[in-house]
């Protein structure tokens, strides 16, 4: 039936003239970068670079203007499922292939972009040298090129998103927030920090909002050494890194749910919410996808915990140059995990229900591994593996392939939050807390749901929101990033994101509000 629908032969879903011109402008900007990538030598690099970036940026914003400015304020999802780019059509697949190709080159073949181990940059990386010099005083790297384009994507598509949801203040503020954090914390501040570095003072490249375990490399030896050697500032950064995950994160997640990070601060989330917004409807809502999601994402948590423990363990001495030694570190990790596991089992075992078994398996696996580390290690090996091998495997499999190639490259195929949903260990940890110890929920408005399915369709995390709403049940799901779009697209005012007391947060109703009071009481209290 959809095929019939999309082949109506009416022109209303095709682009208007300003949209076409804007697309042409944006693509021209990309074309300049492509020419540079194929080693076309531009005489005045700075001018060509800024022209290219301006063309891309203005193209996107102009397109947004041409799309939304003439429409009334409100939900404008017209034709999304008719368009090739947003309905996994030919354009969607082509975009997906280009993006995955870009990520493969970026992670595994940066020399194709013009990165030279010795000597000056060439290719598209050299095109970015003027901007990099301006900011950090150093020549560009492939990561600088990526970071610049990433920031431009969040800023310009952020403008598009705000235009689309201009009637919705939650969406406006949230988008300003991710744009701000990307521009300042992720892009400018780390570049400026490079300027502080000298021969006897060096800070690692540090995006302060990038928290372990998303930032899985944060506690690697070279970074820790570098921070310790950098004196007070470095030590402060190191402490901030530890405090971020163990103190700040739990408090904010308790108060606001994981959205404070995932859809307000995080860079991956920022890109997903802005450049990825057009693909949110492509996430898989089936129950089987949910089952896969839970296994995969929690396995990544186990992996990153073990990997990080192994890496730190490997550079700690037996009695060591640090006050922390191998044995006390392992005991510390074990005690921490046991405390978390025990607290959950004591206070939340009813809510945990059958998931408890899986939690226990994960916990046991980690503890056994820790014991293994202790007894089976030696000669730079940790539990039979080189810690370095674990680290690089994680870096390639999770850091590059999962988060980059699949996570972003496949936006037009699997939706914009594949990484956040199936791969991100940070999201899993925050989600675990959100499910069990948080004031956040999406409240369902009594009996007003008409099961239309807009909420589920536009949930980027693949949550079947409607399944809860039509039961009059609040949505308390670990994966919910609090983007607020389910509430925005609801035609009947059924959903509201809010922070409230933990009591009665989860409330399954047999009979919905509006029916006979006696019947509601009878069945709901059963």
């Amino acid at each position: 039936m959809e095929n019939n629908l999309s082949l109506t032969g009416d022109a209303s879903s095709s682009l208007n003239i300003p949209q076409k011109l804007a697309t042409f402008l944006g693509v021209s900007g990309l074309f300049i970068l492509a020419l540079a990538a194929f080693n076309m030598n531009f005489p005045n690099k700075a001018i060509w670079l800024y022209t290219s970036l301006a063309a891309i940026g203005i193209g996107v914003i102009w397109f947004a203007q041409a799309t939304y400015a003439n429409k009334t304020e409100g939900i404008k999802n017209d034709h999304i499922w008719f368009k090739s780019i947003t309905n996994r059509g030919v354009l969607g697949w082509i975009t997906g292939l280009i993006l995955t190709g870009f990520y493969i080159v970026l992670y595994f073949y940066p020399e194709l972009l013009g990165l030279n181990a010795e000597g000056e940059n060439t290719g598209v990386i050299s095109l970015f040298d003027p901007l990099s010099n301006l900011l950090s005083g150093n020549p560009a790297s492939q990561w600088f090129v990526y970071g610049t384009l990433y920031t431009i994507a969040i800023l310009t598509f952020g403008v598009k998103f705000i235009w689309k949801y201009r009637h919705n203040k939650y969406e406006r503020l949230r988008t300003f927030s991710v744009m701000f954090f990307q521009l300042s914390f992720a892009f400018l501040i780390p570049e400026f920090m490079q300027r502080l570095n000298s021969e006897n003072f060096s800070l690692p490249y540090y995006d302060l909002k990038n928290i372990w375990p998303l930032n899985y490399y944060n506690f690697e030896q070279y970074r820790v050494d570098s921070m310790i050697n950098a004196g007070d500032i470095g030590i402060a950064m190191l402490i901030f890194g530890v405090v971020s995950i163990f103190v700040i994160t739990p408090i904010l997640t308790y108060k606001y749910g994981k959205r404070w990070y995932c859809s307000w601060v995080c860079g991956c989330g920022g890109l997903a919410e802005t450049a990825g917004d057009s693909f949110r409807q492509l996430s898989d809502k089936t129950q089987s996808a949910w089952k896969i999601e839970r296994w995969v994402v929690h396995s990544v948590v186990v992996f990153v915990t073990l990997m990080t423990t192994a890496v730190i363990y490997s550079y700690l001495g037996e009695d060591g140059k640090y006050w922390l030694n191998r044995t006390s570190f392992l005991i510390g990790v074990a005690v921490l995990l046991t405390a978390v596991f025990a607290l959950v089992m004591i206070f939340k075992r009813n809510e945990f229900q059958k998931d408890a078994k899986f939690g226990a398996i994960g916990y046991l696996a980690i503890i056994l591994s820790l014991i293994g580390f202790h007894f089976l290690s030696g000669d730079g090996k940790v539990f039979l593996f080189e810690a370095e091998a674990l680290r690089s495997t994680y870096g390639v499999l999770i850091g590059a392939i999962f988060s980059g190639v699949i996570g972003t490259g496949f936006y037009p195929i699997f939706g914009n939050r594949v990484w956040c949903r199936f791969g991100c260990p940070m999201a899993a940890i925050l989600g675990f807390q959100q499910r069990l110890f948080s004031r956040f929920r999406i409240t369902t408005n009594g009996g007003q749901c008409i099961s239309c399915g807009n909420c589920s369709t536009y949930c980027e995390m693949g949550i079947d929101v409607r399944a809860y709403a039509q039961k009059g049940e609040n949505i308390v799901r670990s994966s919910c990033v609090g983007c607020g779009i389910c509430s925005a697209v609801c035609p009947r005012g059924v959903l509201k994101l809010e922070n409230d007391s933990m009591n009665g947060r989860i409330n399954a109703n047999e009979i919905l509000l509006g029916n006979d009071v006696d019947l509601m009481d009878l069945l709901n209290q059963k």
Binding site: G446, L497, G514, N515
Partner: protein, 430 residues
């Protein structure tokens, strides 16, 4: 094993089936000739507009039915014989039942207009209507919609997303003013115009004119005699129970299937729920036939109890409803009539942007809160349900309105403005 057969797989029939399964092990069969699986009828418009695909309309995945042992049959029931507990399908096949639930919903109204059966003339109720609309709008230069209610406004919205110019004939002097107070009706008038719909108030359809191929060519307006060329006529002047197949059955019919408070027909083992059921006497302020999603669901919940040995009457709680007219959301709790009834008064507040307003209906003497309509501001169902039960005063409601707000976080709130406006409008007490 007792066999419960449900005709109709809409919200009423499916709710009944789900609750019967929860309460019992009876054999359950759901029959529909419209679609293989339950879907949300209210969301058909979103498929046409490209917001969703057909599969998104299905609230349960396809494996759900077999897992819950709810048998689905795609067939059209042409005859019911209550004396032998048997259904006959259009194919000639038959099926025995022990208990029958009729949940066949509505059809759109045709009021005997000349040309109402021409090609290119259609309503917008079923999946088939949606498919037909897709055909009928392939080369549509102008559409005319007849009848100003929610479906009419939805159809206008659907067509406008395909850039089809729409003329919207509304019999009343203002949009849906048989239900909405004037201030609210006016907001919707303006909002429809804002979407470039050619809204014609006080306009009745006289006839639909055919071309040489039996297709609609134009329509003529009763009042002015004006002829408007069009390729599509949407009939959205209300709906009626879909019960033609029961005419010879001996089941008591009025406009709908006549039921008692237990939703039972004149046959003990036959029930009717949802749009097609007609109460012998209206319940409270409700109409004898309630063609609303929510009431269909409630009847499904109730009838399942009765069938599973826990006899229940249909005793709905406080009235509520909601809708969306283009970009403007509407909710209502309790009763608000277009004109205040005797002894009642309206408090009306309208925001300067012309897209938000509330109307509160209350009793003048006791100041008891009777109901609220709200446009562009979401309200909390639970709060209003509680206030209605507790018979709060209008003053209490105005003072505590903030508690009922359900708008997304950070939205501008208007409680103070509403409060001030309320105080100003009240006569000074002596």
């Amino acid at each position: 094993m007792e066999h419960v057969v449900i005709i109709g797989n809409g919200i009423s029939g499916i709710t009944a089936a789900r609750h019967i399964r929860k309460e019992s092990d009876k054999r359950i069969t759901v029959i529909s000739s419209e679609s293989d699986h339950f879907f949300s009828r209210t969301a058909l418009m979103y498929v046409y507009m490209g917001h969703m695909k057909w599969n998104h309309l299905k609230p349960y995945e396809d494996w759900f039915w077999e897992k819950n042992r709810i048998e689905l049959k795609n067939a059209f029931v042409s005859q019911v014989q209550p004396e032998i507990n048997q259904l006959t399908f259009s194919s000639g096949e038959t099926m025995e039942y022990d208990t029958l639930i009729i949940a066949t919903g509505s059809n759109y109204n045709k009021f005997g207009w000349k040309g109402q059966d021409l090609e290119g003339v259609q309503g917008m109720v079923t999946k088939q209507d949606l498919e037909l609309l897709e055909e009928n709008t392939k080369k549509c230069k102008r559409a005319v919609i007849v009848g100003g209610g929610l479906i009419g406004s939805e159809m206008a919205e659907m067509l406008s997303t395909r850039n089809i110019p729409v003329t919207f004939l509304v019999r009343e002097s203002s949009f849906w003013n048989v239900v909405l107070p004037p201030g609210e009706s006016d907001i919707i008038n303006n909002h429809i115009l804002e979407h470039h719909i050619d809204l014609r108030l006080n306009s009745n359809l006289k006839e639909i004119v055919s071309d040489e191929n039996g297709r609609v060519k134009s329509i003529i307006i009763e009042e002015t005699g004006e002829e408007i060329e069009c390729d599509l006529v949407g009939l959205t002047a209300g709906v009626s129970p879909n019960i033609n197949f029961l005419k010879e059955s001996g089941i008591e019919l009025g406009r709908g299937v006549k039921v008692n408070r237990s939703l039972q027909t004149n046959f003990k083992n036959i029930f009717a729920i949802g749009d097609c059921a007609e109460q012998h006497e209206a319940i409270g302020e409700r109409r004898p036939i309630e063609a609303v999603w929510y009431t269909g669901r409630m009847m499904g919940e109730v009838v399942a109890q009765t069938i599973c040995g826990n006899p229940m009457e249909y005793k709905p709680g406080h009235w509520f409803n909601s809708a969306k007219f283009f970009d403007v959301e509407y909710q209502t709790y309790g009763w608000v009539f277009p004109e205040p009834r005797d002894g009642e008064a309206h408090f009306h507040w309208k925001h300067q942007d012309g897209r938000k307003c509330i109307t509160i209906n209350y009793q003048e003497g006791s100041r008891k809160f009777v109901g609220i309509n709200t446009f562009g501001i979401r309200m909390r169902h639970e709060t209003f349900d509680k206030w209605l039960t507790e018979e709060k005063s209008v003053d209490f409601v105005i003072e505590n309105l903030k508690q009922a707000n359900f708008d997304p976080e950070f939205y501008k709130t208007f409680e103070t403005e509403i409060y001030k406006s309320f105080i100003q409008q009240q006569p000074v007490a002596n």
